[in-house]
Each structure stands twice: as C-alpha cells, then as structure tokens.
Symmetry: C2
Subunit: 228 residues, 2 copies
Amino acid sequence: MLKTYSMFDDILQRDQHAVAKGTILKSEGEESHSRMYVAGGWLAASKSLEDGEQQIIEFILPGETYDPTATDGKTSFLQIEALCDAVIVSIDKTSWAQLLRQDPELRKSERQREIAAQARQSERMLRLGRASAETRIAYVLIELCIRVSRQGTGFDSEFHVPFGQQQLGDFTGLSSVHVCRTLRRLNRAGVIRTGDHMDILIKDQHALAELAQVDIAALRDEITTDAA
Amino acid sequence: MLKTYSMFDDILQRDQHAVAKGTILKSEGEESHSRMYVAGGWLAASKSLEDGEQQIIEFILPGETYDPTATDGKTSFLQIEALCDAVIVSIDKTSWAQLLRQDPELRKSERQREIAAQARQSERMLRLGRASAETRIAYVLIELCIRVSRQGTGFDSEFHVPFGQQQLGDFTGLSSVHVCRTLRRLNRAGVIRTGDHMDILIKDQHALAELAQVDIAALRDEITTDAA
DNA sequence: TGTCGGCATTAACCCACGTCAATTCATCGA
DNA sequence: TCGATGAATTGACGTGGGTTAATGCCGACA
C-alpha cells in the first residue's frame, strides 16, 4: 500500500466517485489523460480481440494506482472496468507529475512497483503460454491470495474473490466452464475449499504451490515488494 | 534506436564482447547488477517452468538495452540468451543511473520505451491467452517485421529471423511442430513465402494483418515510438 | 411468495494442438 | 567425399480444453 503523503492524501480526499460493478471507466483507444487511484473495489485492465474474446492483463486493487496511457500520451491501450462496486479517484497527469517531482519516496516506490509489475507479467506469460489449466488456476489463486493478504498482514489462507469464474477465465486464458471444472477438481482433491460467492479457502498450501509450480516464499517477496 | 550521446557512446565503445549463439548471459535467479546493451545480434529474455517448458518474454534487438533485475536489486527474474552470435556491452547500474541523471533526453526516451514495452506485452498476453495458432503466428511475423524494419526505415516486407521455429514456438506458446504446420499453411495460402534459413517474405500484408487481427498502421506507430 | 435473470455446475461431443516418430535436407568437420 | 549433426517437414494418433446446452441455485425485486 502507498505510504501517506499529505498532498497525495489531499487529492485522494477530493474527487472520489463511486462506480457500479461492470462500469467501463476507460475503453481501448479512448482518450486518457489521467492516472486512476482505486480507493475501494477491484478493477480489471483488459484487451479484446475483434471477435470479442477478452484477456484480463492486470487486476487493480484498493490502494493501487494505474495509468493505461499509451506512448502517444493521449489514448488508453487497455480497457479499465470495475469488477465490483468501486470508488475511484482520477489524478490528472500534471498533478501526478508534480507529486512525483516533489516526493522522492513516492518516485522510488512507483519505480519499484513498475519493476514488480513487469516481473508479475512475465510470470503470467509463462503460464499463459506453457502451463496446464490446473497450473494456471493454482497459480492465480496463490497470486490473488497473497495480493489480498497484504492488505491485511501476512498470508491469510482464506480470502474472497469479488468477481466470477468468467473473469478468472479471462485472466487465465481459459473458458469459464473449464475454470469451473478445474476448481471442482481442486476441491475434490482437498487442496482448496470453495464457499459461497467465490470465497476460497486454501486447505493445502504446499500442494497448491506444487501444482502452480511456484515457490510461495519467493512469490510473496516479489508481490509484497510491490507495495513498498 | 537510441540517439547518440557522447558519454553513452564512450561506454559502448569500451567493454564490447562477442558471445556465441546459445550463450546464456544471465540465468533466472542469478546475480544481476548491470543493464545489457546489444551492439549486434538478437537476445531472448525468457522464463522456464520446472518441467523445462520455456516461454520467451521478449526479444532484444541491436541498439536496445535491457535490464532483468528484480525489485530486490540483486537477482535477475529472467534468463537472457543469445539467439545468434552477438556483441553485447554490460553497463553497470551506477553508470546507467549517472547517464540517466545527466541526460533528460535519454531519461525521456527510456520512459517511452518502457511504456511501449508494456503495451507490447499486453498485446502478446492477449494473443497467448485468447488467439488461435494462426493468429499468433501471423501476429509475431508482423511484429518482428516491423521491429526489424525500423532498423532500416519503413516497412520492409522481406526480412530475416535469426533463429529457428523452436524459438518462434517458445515465444508464441506453441510446439515447434505446430509452428511448422502453421507456417506451411500460410505459405500454401499465398500469404507469406518462407525461404532458406528463416527468411520471410510477406506476400499479402493485408491478409496477414487480417489473420493477426491487428491494425498494421497502429502497431507500427506503437512499436516505432519505442525507438524514439 | 412467485418470478426472473444471472451464475455455477455437469454432461456430451468435438477439434485444435501436442507428442512421437520417420524422413529429408543443409551444414560442417575430418 | 563421407558421415554426423541438427533443423524442418510430415503423418498418425491421442488429449486437454472449448462449445453447447440442460439443470439447478440464489438473490433481487414486485
């Protein structure tokens, strides 16, 4: 989570506005002159093929900022959508640049955040291109678990995913039907337990990490650093 | 391509060293304290699953720099390998930081480069997760063609890929056998013509763009900006 | 309390792509 | 000139995951 900066805080207090689940905050190719700050709720940054197939590139969680503006400085190269009811703040480029100029700490933490994001992207590309459905699902569960946990502290084995299996598929490159099949299988194997409304309980952290082909400790460091 | 900077040039003249095709310049998790500059040849940045499956995350072309150092500032989160005989220069972090501090132009162009890289990654993730083999192959051909072309000027419909079908598969998330099949099919359809040694001639640019589900003009802008 | 709409679940079926293996071909050192 | 090596190519075959569609469940709303 971002540390507290008086001027930053000031901006975040103004201009908050609530958006309903499903709201599209920015579309691909649309004008974009601001960085978004998520005060509450989850967003998804995604791209679509002409035939309508959607791929979620990144989830944006409360306390994070995101700017999908392309190199032209004008248009967004991603679509940003609210996965659940959310509260967001638009910080215009000028204000953001000013914040960065004034605050070396913020500058440094944003730099770290970018590097961490790039590492995460690489890890996801590896799974998208090369891993089985089971590995992909196991991985996303671990990743989400860790990212949710750091809002509290440490590693909570139980967490809530505020969106459906369709979106999980859009993120892992699978159909919602196969996401379902895979989650059932993990349930039957006793690795996880799914409750109502996409509540997830990781029953066997070790087995899940095995399936995801990931070293949990390393991943936690990587993702957690993101917040520094 | 990077513009000319006296001090930058100075560094690039020293410390050049040649590496043979297949050389692994950095391994995943290995110590990494420098940024690499490619004076000649192509590199690949990749990640691997425990079972050995490899995914190429990015190609690094002559004139580009790359730094795979993770947020810990110590280890590389990618493997860097020479796809063909290459000449590279290691620029240590301190020198690089100094260059950035002294040169606002370089700082700005690197910033642009990072944004462009992120847009490219998103585009690739979309294809990895959601597109057919044909679309992926068509897309990578167009992407490579444009990136090679900008070393000269404009869009050359004929170009050379200095590595094999296996690596094309490692980049697109396909098996080398299926890469081969797909290339043959594109040949038979008259969209491309493959010559010896992975020489590619795009015979029908429009049809290829159609298959790739991409707007060539937009993509060219995006990739070309990368070089600013 | 009923009805409606959206999501999860499951089964049946199919196909795009992976795997394995044989064949050809180009390169290269002895 | 002769293997020897490694990549491209092609065919046969198997399968993981997509598609379709039926069913059930829950929450919202009247």
